[in-house]
Symmetry: C2
Subunit: 151 residues, 2 copies
């Protein structure tokens, strides 16, 4: 289950950070969103509530949250242009970007967790975070290609 706002604010206090309106606002925004959002998207949402919030603060706050484990941060698209964030410990999400239609397909699976476990067993390492991005064809495009004999 996902982190609560209270839990997150406690974490901030425990580490000697202040609770500011900006930090609370970002927590509220993240709590209302299951999906990964990039800094710009989060900035836009924040801007709706409080036009004075700056993009720099959004970046600083997200980085702080990531350090404290309040948010997960990853790259989900193959271009790896923008980093994305969400409250920690939601269900695993990966994306496949379709090279034919450009669609981004959400993939729910615990495959990456299983992969991490295998690494632990075989290599003696400890995996604390992982990120995977897939490129390929979405189900519809795969079907179309198959039907038209292009596959």
């Amino acid at each position: 289950m996902t982190l609560t706002i209270d839990k997150a604010e406690t974490l901030l206090r425990e580490h000697g950070y202040k609770i500011t309106p900006q930090r609370t606002l970002l927590l509220q925004i993240m709590a209302g969103q299951a999906a990964y959002l990039d800094a710009e998207e989060i900035f836009q949402l924040a801007h709706l509530q409080d036009a004075s919030v700056s993009l720099a603060t959004v970046y600083r706050t997200l980085n702080l949250f990531a350090e404290l484990g309040i948010v997960d941060h990853r790259y989900v698209s193959p271009e790896h242009r923008r980093e994305v964030f969400r409250l920690s410990a939601g269900p695993e999400q990966h994306y496949l970007t379709c090279v034919r239609c450009g669609k981004r397909v959400l993939i729910h699976t615990d495959l990456l967790n299983r992969m991490a476990h295998e690494l632990v067993r075989h290599k003696g390492v400890m995996v604390t975070g992982a990120c995977a991005c897939f490129t390929g064809y979405c189900a519809e495009c795969t079907e179309t290609l198959r039907r038209t004999g292009k596959l």
Copy 2:
């Protein structure tokens, strides 16, 4: 097995691209390297052979090679700062970056392939490329933490 220089040059010709000294040089450099290298590293190696090669050409050439399938390109570190390249179809390689000592551990495994196959079966999609980066503790740091009771 890895692409040969001849095969790569044939691909270039087939697509109407010219064989230039710069393109040949980059192919030679990539052929002598099993590991993923970033554009800057490739540029440095190229510079040793021919001081006139520019970084812009390295980028343009690597992007062209990627388009033609001559090279694989991915991000291997969790910071996703720089893209890395190698000749296509070498054995799968992933990296785990140790958050304690900073070491980058090479991981040989076909787990990502298996993951891709499961996705194909369960979702009807087609996976043509994948990228995974792991964060965690390397074997030594895991051992140390375990010994000192910090884990």
